[in-house]
């Protein structure tokens, strides 16, 4: 199984990549794409559900990153910066899709399943949780996607969402209460 959010594995440090990119070395950007493409794709996939949409969002994320990288100051890591762009792109696509197809259709997100060991009850639970997450207010939904499902630290989530860590924690607590209430409403 693919790591939920791939951690960079042995690439050049961010500062070195930025220096090489600014000096006109195209390979530096290629390395950034190679290192972070899975992270970006999976964030988009979690927000958008469908592979086709996640692919488009991931591609757009890197095009935008390429345009902005020269001005990126390195206040955050490249990884959290890319996740932020991916989240913004996915958010826009999500809004556009919701206008087109309606919320109900969006809740039918594909289930990754668990292969041969998957059990119907567990899959149904996961589907219900995912539907409940879909109905959360945007900030709470994003905190759950990044913190609970993507295993980012509070500091990273705060960096991505441009919030304080305290605010991220507050959103998570509210999200959990809301999730439980929504799940209670949909008990079979």
């Amino acid at each position: 199984m693919e790591p939920v959010v791939a951690k960079p594995r042995g690439p050049a440090p961010d500062a070195e990549l930025l220096r090489r990119f600014r000096s006109g070395e195209a390979a530096a950007f290629d390395e950034i794409v190679r290192t972070h493409r899975r992270t970006v794709y999976h964030v988009a996939r979690r927000v958008l559900g469908r592979h086709e949409d996640a692919d488009e969002a991931a591609q757009l994320t890197f095009v935008k990153a390429w345009r902005a990288l020269g001005r990126f100051r390195g206040d955050s890591s490249i990884r959290t910066w890319l996740v932020r762009i991916a989240l913004n792109v996915s958010r826009s696509m999500w809004s556009a899709r919701r206008e087109q197809v309606g919320l109900e259709d969006l809740q039918e997100l594909p289930d990754a399943g668990e292969g041969s060991e998957g059990r119907l009850g567990r899959r149904q639970d996961r589907r219900r949780i995912r539907q409940a997450v879909t109905r959360l207010p945007p900030r709470q939904r994003e905190v759950v996607l990044l913190k609970v499902f993507s295993e980012m630290t509070y500091a990273e989530v705060a960096e991505v969402l441009q919030l304080s860590e305290g605010t991220v924690k507050a959103h998570l607590h509210q999200a959990v209460s809301n999730l439980r209430r929504r799940l209670a409403e949909t008990v079979d």
Binding site: M1, E2, P3, V4, F29, D30, V33, R34, R37, R38, Y41, H42, R45, R46, H51, D55, Q59, L60, F62, V63, K64, A65, W66, R67, A68, R84, I85, N88, V89, S92, M93, A96, A112, G113, E114, R122, D125, R126, R128, I129, R130, K147, V148, F149, E151, Y154, K169, L172, H173, A175, V176, S177, L179, R180, R181, R182, L183, A184, E185, V187
Partner: protein, 220 residues
């Protein structure tokens, strides 16, 4: 366990897979699920390892094998559009400056004075203090009246008003914005304005008149 504490425990354990006494705390939550409807699924979620909470399928090696090349292709496409827009923006600024210089040079009583004339008369005002002549009223009116639907006007504005400086916002990558390509007429650029001979000046005057006529009414 009251509801607020139940929810807090859930949130803390979901956020921290390495929380102290994790298993005992999960067991305590599981024992209270009946009192707190909706809690059962979340406690079950807690019991799973983080990577199994919401597993995502990987698109596979074939997908990743083409991913980088597709990014490169889209970046190049965006680069080409950016280059065209920058060139257009520079050309339009240069055109405006050239037009203003041309009008200033050929307006009666203005323009750089001939050396022989300067030698024979007293300079009354410092050169730096002399403001340039205003553009003819007719030209200003024509520029003001340029319709927004004019493709040249619209595209010139679009060339300067892009989201280039804010790549994080919006979705409208230049390659995908669907905006029509700008098509310029042959010879739309003005002639060279420096070192003109008499014939060149005549050509420049003719070009300026054409542009004025074009702005007043039909395109030339």
């Amino acid at each position: 366990m009251d509801r607020a504490r139940f929810d807090n425990e859930l949130a803390e354990l979901l956020a921290d897979p390495a929380a102290p006494d994790r298993e005992a705390r999960i067991a305590a939550l599981a024992a209270c699920c009946d009192e707190h409807p909706g809690g059962r699924e979340l406690v079950a979620l807690l019991a799973r390892s983080p990577e199994r909470r919401d597993p995502q399928p990987d698109p596979g090696p074939e997908y990743w094998a083409t991913f980088d090349a597709r990014v490169t292709e889209r970046v190049r496409a965006a680069e080409r559009v950016h280059g065209r827009r920058s060139a257009l923006a520079i050309a339009s600024v240069a055109a405006a400056i050239g037009l203003a210089v041309g009008l200033w040079m050929f307006a009666p009583g203005t323009g750089p004075a001939d050396d022989a004339v300067v030698a024979g008369r007293e300079v009354r005002e410092p050169v730096v203090a002399v403001p340039g002549p205003a553009l003819p009223d007719a030209l200003i009116s024509a520029l003001d009246a340029a319709e927004p639907a004019d493709p040249v006007a619209v595209d010139l504005v679009a060339g300067l008003d892009e989201d280039w400086l804010d790549p994080v916002a919006g979705l409208d990558a230049p390659a995908d914005d669907g905006a029509p390509e700008l098509e310029l007429d042959e010879g739309w650029m003005f002639p060279e304005t420096y070192g003109l001979d008499a014939a060149g000046r005549g050509a420049l005057l003719e070009w300026i008149r054409e542009q004025e006529a074009r702005l007043r009414g039909g395109r030339v």
